[in-house]
């Protein structure tokens, strides 16, 4: 359904998402400043992952 390159990019996005949503990166966000930035960080990371997934799945290969 999707070509090899898209598969690789999608797996890379998955790994990035796993890193973004879990420790240790989430711990860093949790302790940023006075604290309280974890929800903002998670929602921004979530948006980034969706944008990447969109680009991987929908970009048109050059003819």
């Amino acid at each position: 359904m999707i070509d090899g390159r898209r598969r690789r990019y999608l797996l890379a996005t998955l790994i990035l998402a796993l890193l973004l949503f879990n420790a240790p990166l989430a711990i860093v966000a949790d302790r940023l400043g006075e604290g309280g930035y974890l929800p903002l960080y998670l929602f921004l990371g979530w948006t980034l992952v969706i944008v990447l997934a969109f680009l991987v799945m929908q970009w048109r290969a050059k003819a």
Partner: protein, 907 residues
């Protein structure tokens, strides 16, 4: 506040609208236009994942534990990135083998096992009933608030409980929506369209209340956050208290994995899918939906907490009521209704199919006394079982809600259900990627997983409510401290659900893998494993059948299970495919038997369908053993075929090489003919001149002395040319035949070029050209070779140069330089040069005679060929390039003798 009748009317109107949408979708489908054949509708239908749990429960949880609600949505986001890998494969398998549910899928994969199908159904029911209860609880609580009955148990007039009424209404609704067709693989197009519409409703209503709270009750996100911090609730913005990142990770894993096995998700994502390409869009659009519906969860939850709303699950409803916005509250109520109804409809349809196909029908068909295998029509029975199952599920959910629901929040119930249904994940995922996963492993894993789930989640719940002795929590099962339900094997510090998930999935996986490694698959399992794991390699199934079963008997089977209309459709499909209609008395072939089994499977599941078809057929049925044997033979044939292909490729290659050689031989033959023709021509030309002028001299004795001298001069020159040509031909012939007498010794190339210059200086002055000595080394340029032959090469090249230099100002230069381990002699001129295309060809015999030059200079056309042969003989190479003087530069290189030898020679 609205009148209760208005609330009831609004809810009824909404449900009525759903019916209209569903009917519209079904009507269009009958007309051949599939409205659900759209990736966005497919994605919206997948959003049935977001239920009352999301709509009410997430806010409730967020008001108590901040971001603890998020893993439930981050997990599916990660899972969505695996859709093209996992869901695509599941989808292809399900469509190829007419799978009707997740239980049917597992049963079919593990050897069409009724036992596994039954256990998977029970697990799905164990998970599904609390989940449906959760929806009833949310619906009941929100309805009670809207009807002014308080948020406790709502008692309607005549002492009727509102929750019971809702359960019955939902049952009727689900029956009307989901059990109109007997074919369980047939898409419920109207239902899916309605579910997609509900997804839009719940999203827009939730966002509406989010905007109202965030921007009308407060001045934006920052305002709520500041107020939260000021009120001392800043901890809600951090990792929840009592959670660690392992809990967090496990919760994400749990939510991500169940997306593939929740019965309702399997129903919409697999069974109802009409085009597998829709997965591409769902991969990013489904997470987008989850993100959008969660954006306002935290602001609403914080606002509810700040507003002092006690029941977190109803914050989303109370906030508009507190703010005197009853219309918004009504909108929220409808949004919550849509979230709950969508889940209840799809879940009950999916579960009823599983109950009917994987539990009830297999049992009933085995009861001889019922003689079901002989009954003429079973389609009505199947339909009745499904409808009864839906009713039963809702009644059980209502009982669960009454008995247990009050003690748990919405999310609490949901997570327990998630952990149960997650037990299906290992068998599913390993089943489609690992051929050796077998039935023993799957049964053991599933049983162990659900047992550990019960011990770690249900036992503590029962102990805490006093149903069983609470001492078990401290003493452990069988009095063993290692088996304490909340700290199994001493593992504590985790959230109850993560603790349960960790141990249950570990046990499940260990037994699945261990059982698969220790026990053998039977042949049917091997076959099914092969077909499932290699679905993309083995399109279509094996069509193997030997028997004397008549079409009429299989037609009878179709009539019994799918009714006359559908049976007729099957026959028509078969007739269309094969080009003629099978007669009833004809013998059924493999294709027809498979077609019948597939259609019966759609009604009663793969395992039961197999049993039913087997009960009808007579004669020699090819069993799994034979199929595997044939597959093995086929594999051997494929192997031979590969070998033949390889040999064929080798032969092709050899043929191509032979063709090349043949071409070369033809070329050589042509060259030989050309050579002979050219030599003859070259010999004849001077001979003709000699003869003509000799005859003139004989015939005219009175010729003047001057004329006589001139004619004799021509005779002499032509004789010399003839001699040169013959010498060249002889030289070439000797070299090529290997009979040349070489006098090999150490040769100084500087001496060679001096000698060549001396030999050609006369020619140069005759032509008015300049002969220059190019760069030469201070020491001898020693090579191994034949001095005279190398002089011949240098003379030849210089002679060649003089042939092409301009009439005035012609220059030829010869020199020798060192290049690495070689000496290179260069002869350059300022003539027209040699164009690139002829730089190889000029070394061929008589080449100049054929192509390269219009004004052919005088020569034998063998000089360069001889030069090349001589240089090659001494391990060198000759070539031509552009000269700095502007003309051609012929160079030849020969391996230099070692330095010591060179020094010795110099001394």
């Amino acid at each position: 506040m609205f009148s209760p009748w208005l609330i009831v009317a609004a809810a009824a109107a909404y449900l009525g609208l759903l019916f209209v949408i569903a009917s519209f979708g079904d009507r269009r489908a009958r007309e051949g236009r599939q409205l659900i054949d759209n990736p966005l509708i497919y994605t919206l239908s997948m959003a049935v994942y977001c239920t009352s749990w999301t709509f009410y429960g997430s806010v409730g949880l967020a008001s108590q534990a901040g971001i603890a609600f998020l893993p439930t949505y981050l997990g599916p986001t990660l899972a969505a990135l695996l859709f093209p890998f996992v869901l695509h494969k599941i989808l292809r398998i399900a469509k190829t083998y007419s799978i009707t549910s997740i239980a049917d899928f597992l049963a079919a994969r593990y050897g069409k096992s009724s036992a596994l199908g039954g256990i998977a159904t029970l697990v799905a029911m164990i998970a599904g009933i609390p989940y449906i209860a959760l929806q009833l609880k949310a619906l009941s609580a929100s309805a009670n608030v809207m009807l002014g009955l308080g948020d406790g148990a709502g008692i309607l007039p005549f002492g009727i409980d509102s929750g019971f009424v809702i359960a019955i209404v939902m049952a009727v609704f689900a029956i009307l929506f989901g059990t109109r067709h007997i074919d369980a693989t047939e898409t419920h197009q109207g239902m899916v369209l309605a579910i997609a519409f509900e997804s839009i409703v719940k999203l827009t209503t939730f966002i509406a209340v989010g905007i109202f709270v965030t921007f009308f009750l407060y001045d934006g996100f920052d305002s709520i956050i500041q107020a939260t911090r000021a009120a001392g609730h800043g901890d809600l913005l951090l990792m929840p208290e009592g959670w660690n990142y392992f809990d967090w990770f496990l919760m994400i894993l749990l939510a991500g994995s169940v997306v593939f096995v929740l019965p309702r998700q399997f129903q919409v994502a697999v069974i109802e899918n009409v085009d597998e390409r829709h997965i591409r869009t769902a991969t990013w659009a489904f997470p987008t939906y989850l993100l959008l519906i969660n954006i306002f969860v935290i602001p609403i939850a914080l606002a509810g907490r700040l507003g002092g709303i006690a029941d977190g699950d109803l914050i989303v409803l109370f906030l508009p009521l507190q703010a005197a916005a009853p219309w918004l509250a009504l909108v929220v109520f409808i949004g919550g209704l849509s979230a709950a109804t969508a889940m209840i409809i799809v879940s009950t349809v999916a579960l009823s199919t599983m109950i009917s196909n994987d539990v009830v029908m297999p049992v009933l068909l085995r009861v001889e006394a019922l003689q079901l295998t002989r009954r003429r029509h079973l389609s009505r029975l199947v339909m009745t079982i499904r409808r009864t199952s839906i009713l039963l599920l809702l009644v059980l959910a209502y009982i669960f809600f009454q008995a247990v629901g009050a003690g748990y929040g919405l999310v609490g119930i949901g997570l327990i259900a998630f952990a149960a249904v997650a037990q299906l994940v290992p068998a599913l995922v390993l089943g489609i990627f690992w051929r050796d996963a077998n039935l023993v492993g799957a049964l053991a894993g599933l049983t162990a997983g659900i047992a550990v789930w019960g011990l770690t989640l249900i036992v503590p719940a029962l102990a805490k409510t006093g149903v069983i002795d609470p001492a078990i929590l401290m003493d452990g099962l069988f009095g063993s401290p290692l088996l304490r339900p909340e700290a199994l094997f001493g593992l504590d510090g985790l959230q109850p659900v993560s603790h349960a998930l960790f141990w249950s999935i570990t046990a499940n996986l260990l037994l699945l893998v261990g059982g698969s490694l220790l026990f053998q698959q039977d042949n049917l399992q091997r076959l099914q494993a092969l077909l499932f794991v290699n679905i993309f390699e083995r399109e279509g199934t094996t069509r193997i059948w030997r028997g004397d079963t008549r079409v009429a008997e299989l037609h009878e089977l179709l009539l019994r299970f799918i009714g006359r209309e559908q049976a007729e459709h099957v026959l028509a499909t078969d007739a269309y495919r094969r080009g003629h209609r099978l007669a009833m008395e004809e013998r059924a072939d493999a294709d027809f038997v498979q077609l019948v089994e597939r259609h019966v499977a759609r009604a009663i599941g793969a395992a039961t369908a197999r049993a039913m078809v087997a009960s009808v057929v007579r004669g020699e049925v090819i069993g799994p053993d034979d199929i595997l044997e044939i597959l093995d033979e086929a594999s051997q044939v494929i192997e031979y075929s590969h070998q033949l292909e390889e040999r064929s490729r080798a032969l092709e290659q050899a043929g191509a090489e032979l063709k090349q050689i043949n071409e070369r031989l033809r070329e050589l033959d042509r060259m030989k003919d050309d050579f002979l023709a050219t030599v003859s021509h070259e010999l004849r030309t001077p001979l003709t001149s000699i003869r003509s002028f000799s005859e003139i001299l004989i015939d005219n004795p009175d010729l003047e002395l001057e004329e006589r001298k001139e004619f004799l001069g021509i005779v002499v020159r032509e004789s010399e040319r003839l001699t040169r040509l013959i010498n060249n031909v002889l030289d070439l012939s000797k070299i090529e035949s290997g009979s040349m007498d070489w006098h090999v010794r150490d040769v100084d190339l500087v001496a060679v070029i001096d000698e060549a210059m001396a030999a050609t200086r006369g020619l140069a002055s005759e032509l008015g050209a300049t002969l220059e000595r190019g760069p030469v080394p201070d020491q001898p340029a020693l090579v191994r070779g034949d001095h005279d032959r190398l002089v011949q090469v240098a003379v030849n090249l210089l002679g060649n140069a003089f042939k092409f230099v301009p009439a005035k100002g012609g220059i030829a230069r010869i020199g020798v330089t060192r290049d690495g381990a070689d000496w290179v002699v260069g002869v350059e001129d300022n003539g027209p040069g040699v164009s690139l295309q002829y730089r190889d060809a000029i070394f061929e015999k008589f080449h100049q005679a054929s192509e390269s030059l219009k004004d052919r200079p005088k020569g034998t056309g063998l000089g360069l060929t001889i030069c090349q042969q001589i240089v090659s003989h001494f391990g060198g190479r000759i070539w031509v390039e552009d000269a700095p003087l502007g003309g051609a530069c012929f160079r030849f290189r020969l391996p230099a003798l070692p330095a010591a030898q060179t020094r010795a020679a110099a001394e």
